[in-house]
Symmetry: C2
Subunit: 140 residues, 2 copies
Amino acid sequence: MNYFPIGELSKLSQVKVPTIRYYESIGLLPEPIRTSGNRRVYTEDSLRRLNFIRRARELGFDGPAIRQLQDLLEDPSQPCENAHSIAEHRLQEIEEKLTQLQELKSRLLDMISCGNHTNIESCTIMERLDHDNEPTPSAK
Amino acid sequence: MNYFPIGELSKLSQVKVPTIRYYESIGLLPEPIRTSGNRRVYTEDSLRRLNFIRRARELGFDGPAIRQLQDLLEDPSQPCENAHSIAEHRLQEIEEKLTQLQELKSRLLDMISCGNHTNIESCTIMERLDHDNEPTPSAK
DNA sequence: GCTAATATCTATAGTCACTAGAGGAGCAAG
DNA sequence: CTTGCTCCTCTAGTGACTATAGATATTAGC
């Protein structure tokens, strides 16, 4: 088994050094052993865990969710319904964002399809931002 | 013309009171006049400006972008190409986000389409997070 | 007019997920 | 042994807010 320093782990995982230390500080990544000179020493297992965190982050899971998923990993005999419900919850969030963004995109497209004109007064972009026909202030 | 306090402005705009003060502090919303008792007093114009900010925020414009758009509004004789380029830039960002989210969604769907099983060991969600076939750590 | 409830004020600190910087010390090669 | 790199800790900054504390103002009821 090989041991490597934080810079190496950073390269292998594509996670920046300060971010690795940050993950450790918030308890996502366990504290590694240290050399006599106080340097962190990591193993393949650290890399596996860090990659797990990176992938979960890429999927948009936040700190608490990742912690839950990790707990599940630690105890693989658990029913996986928990993992499912976490993932499904994320999926729902993503669907919502997708819908919002799509609407947003079409609004922006509308705006940009602003014909020939020379100044702000006749610009549909500004017009829409300034007195949109109230997209229902039902908040975000 | 009516004058109203911050709570009223908050209700009318659907923007929380501390957020309104925050916008003022970062220079997005101009400082309103005050009563003899030091309370902020707003007008219809404040509401219009705040709604402008809210809508721009909903469209995902960040502080600097909103300031740019506001500057354009203040000087309506300017060519509107500027507004266009800001909006187009935003559109590009939105397209990117959309693509990312869609990929993300299909990855999550893949995960969730985990058949009948009883524990984590046989759960595709955990499997994928734990040792995905490296979605190329090219990172974001 | 007085009192109690509500609204508002300022200032500071906390959130999330990092990123950046200062200042110091370990370590490997020439 | 000195240069240069990596690493250490600690503090502070980011953006866009949210939350809290303690003080003051305004309003409604009596």
